[in-house]
């Protein structure tokens, strides 16, 4: 039986013209874009062979000219609080996220070393231990490193970079591209580790890239500059291999030629915050972990981390959870890592700890209280607020006011004894996603010039009564960065400024890159 012909109607002259124009423009463009993805990796390898550049070679100190090329256009000098009695100077880096920082390993390492050269080195005190804290998700942009991230980086510069914050189609498209670019590694890990949740498979597949861009890069910075470094990233545990077959499959094409690969040892992907010291403590550890002092696995996770990218939570109870909430002793302080959301998790309202409360019974509910129970004196809150800063949260609260329930509560709530809170905030637009916020350092019992985040002068009509204690200027701020959108307390105006900074706003992406520091004094350690 003959199939009936397709329904059809002839095109008009204009239609035929449009069709012809499309064939000669769209199709070659598409072929070009797809082709680049396949020729990119060999081209990078040949390029590296010709130039002699190796991704695993140690980075040096960048020149002023090199820093000029990678510096954020809105970088401001570091400010801070000096105390002659301080024994540890802590820097909180407000990094402005930019995909152009991850063209290749050399660009990335130059970028982060220039942050050290320009925002940290000039402000260090000789002979005093230094800790440098980078924001949460500092390693996230490196997933678009090199040839495999080429199309995602191009997308970030094109009209397709964002749809809306509510429906992040730009982000979904980039994740699709990255899954395709990492397909050989995804397939290899699926075969090796069993079925992997597709939401997080690209993070497992990117293990080799993450180790080179995060673990090795920042552990070298800790050693080269003689400082303690804190950085967070979503990644799997790994091992090092020189097996040629594994190197061929798992090593980043951008890193070729190389005789080393870093391979995920499980499909568990956690939001891990690393703390590296200036000295090697474990020579048998793989590259990037030899001077690692502590690693924290985030718990609880935000809904975005749990539901959208399928991350795995850190331990919630038992000895593993207590160890996760603890931390190492550095310069007389016990340093604990509470990566954003966990720093809000007390399990009870401000100052109202119930009788018989067990802080470590479930750290998904009371991580901060458990951290206090472990004797932590310096709470490091590496942070990346995934949204506008000057806005109302889904709970109806003014966001900067809500943020006080972590950064200020930790040093003001009488039911806990943290002496300091250090919170660097990621800034920048990642496709549809906005990262915005003010970086701060707070100290218990500090009586400085009263300061507050933007719009925090009062409890608004829609704000929860629970937040009343956080309103108004507070003396516990040792240092705070100004907000990229301006200052003041007119919330309607501040919201308009936040819109201007967001994707497709009139000041899109004009966030401030800077840092703050403070000298931490042992005498302000735990209250009795």
């Amino acid at each position: 039986m003959n199939r009936p012909p397709k329904l059809r109607r002839r095109l008009s002259v204009t239609g035929r013209l449009c069709r012809g124009v499309g064939w000669v423009t769209l199709v070659p463009l598409m072929v070009f874009a797809v082709g680049l993805q396949f020729v990119g990796a060999p081209a990078a390898m040949v390029g590296n062979l010709v130039t002699g550049e190796r991704a695993d070679q140690r980075a040096g100190t960048p020149s002023a000219r090199e820093c000029d090329e990678v510096r954020s256009p809105r970088q401001e000098p570091t400010s801070g609080h000096v105390d002659p009695d301080g024994t540890l100077r802590v820097f909180a880096i407000q990094y402005t996220l930019d995909f152009s920082d991850v063209v290749d390993y050399a660009t990335w390492r130059t970028t982060v070393r220039c942050l050290m050269e320009e925002l940290v080195q000039p402000y260090r005190r000789p002979g005093q231990p230094t800790m440098v804290v980078f924001p949460e998700d500092m390693g996230l942009p490196t997933i678009a490193m090199g040839t495999r991230g080429w199309s995602a980086r191009q997308q970030a510069r094109s009209f397709a970079r964002s749809a809306s914050e509510a429906v992040p189609l730009g982000l979904a498209g980039a994740l699709g591209q990255l899954n395709l670019a990492y397909a050989p590694q995804v397939a290899a890990y699926q075969a090796r580790l069993g079925p992997i949740d597709p939401r997080k498979q690209v993070f497992v597949a990117a293990t080799d890239t993450f180790v080179r861009a995060v673990n090795i890069t920042f552990s070298e910075i800790a050693r080269d500059y003689g400082v303690y470094v804190v950085v967070s990233n979503n990644q799997a545990a790994y091992r090092q291999t020189s097996n040629p077959a594994e190197v061929a499959v798992f090593a980043d094409p951008q890193a070729q030629p190389t005789d080393t690969a870093y391979v995920a040892t499980s499909q568990r992907v956690t939001n891990t915050t690393f703390l590296w010291g200036p000295d090697v403590v474990n020579r048998s550890a793989p590259d990037g972990n030899q001077n690692l002092l502590f690693a924290n696995e985030k718990v609880p996770l935000t809904p975005l981390e749990k539901d959208l990218i399928g991350l795995d939570e850190g331990p919630r109870s038992g000895p593993a959870a207590e160890a996760n909430a603890g931390g190492p002793e550095i310069a007389g302080f016990k340093v604990g890592l509470a990566t954003s959301y966990p720093a809000f998790a007390y399990g009870y309202p401000f100052g109202e700890r119930p009788a018989g409360f067990e802080p470590c019974a479930d750290t998904a509910v009371s991580f901060a209280a458990c951290q206090d129970a472990q004797g932590v004196t310096v709470q490091i809150q590496a942070d990346a607020n995934p949204g506008r800063w000057a806005t109302t949260t889904l709970d109806g609260n003014w966001q900067p006011l809500e943020w006080m329930s972590s950064v200020w509560r930790s040093v003001a709530d009488p039911t806990v004894g943290f002496a300091y809170n250090v919170t660097p905030m990621m800034n920048g637009n990642l496709l549809d996603l906005v990262f915005d916020g003010q970086t701060s350092i707070t100290g218990r019992g500090f009586s400085g010039r009263p300061q507050m985040f933007v719009g925090n002068d009062r409890l608004g009509a829609a704000d929860s009564e629970d937040l009343a204690v956080y309103a108004g200027a507070k003396q516990e701020f040792l240092a705070m960065t100004p907000w990229s959108g301006g200052s003041g307390n007119d919330r309607a105006r501040l919201e308009r400024e936040a819109t201007a900074l967001a994707p497709r706003g009139v000041r899109e992406g004009e966030y401030t890159q800077t840092a703050v520091f403070a000298d931490l004094v042992p005498k302000t350690q735990r209250l009795p």
Binding site: L7, R8, R9, L11, V34, Q37, S151, V167, G173, Q177
Partner: protein, 126 residues
């Protein structure tokens, strides 16, 4: 049947401009309703072979050969296979694939990429 006869026998295939209008309305509804409202509405509209945007702009999805409305399975193939395929194509080509997928509508059968996947086209409802 000659091409000229096929032309005369065809129902009123939706013009690319009207297709674009329907698409824009669908995207707008998707964003405004945070996806949820649009998806729920789509389930109801799928039973009469159209999307919410097509309902508003007076269009209907039909079989490209018979001109008859399509069943739920064909609708699912168009919406759940064809459109994600176009998204993927766009994703690997820095957005050019999205334009290409839609631009295919400018053809005698007025079939975008997702229509070709499902063997459908779109007619105007008078």
């Amino acid at each position: 049947m000659s091409l000229a006869e096929a032309d005369r026998a065809a129902p009123l295939l939706a013009q690319p401009t009207r297709r674009l209008a329907g698409f824009v309305v669908d995207v707008g509804l998707f964003v405004v309703t945070l996806a949820v409202g649009w998806i729920v509405w789509s389930v109801f509209e799928a039973r009469v072979s159209r999307t919410p945007g097509m309902r508003i702009t007076g269009q209907r999805i039909v079989d490209v050969r018979t001109g008859e409305v399509v069943d739920g399975r064909r609708m699912a193939r168009r919406q759940l296979l064809g459109i994600p395929l176009a998204l993927l194509l766009g994703a690997v080509t820095c957005g050019v694939g999205w334009l290409f997928s839609g631009w295919l509508v400018v053809s005698p059968s007025r079939q975008a990429l997702w229509d070709r996947v499902a063997g459908t086209t779109v007619v105007e409802v008078l």
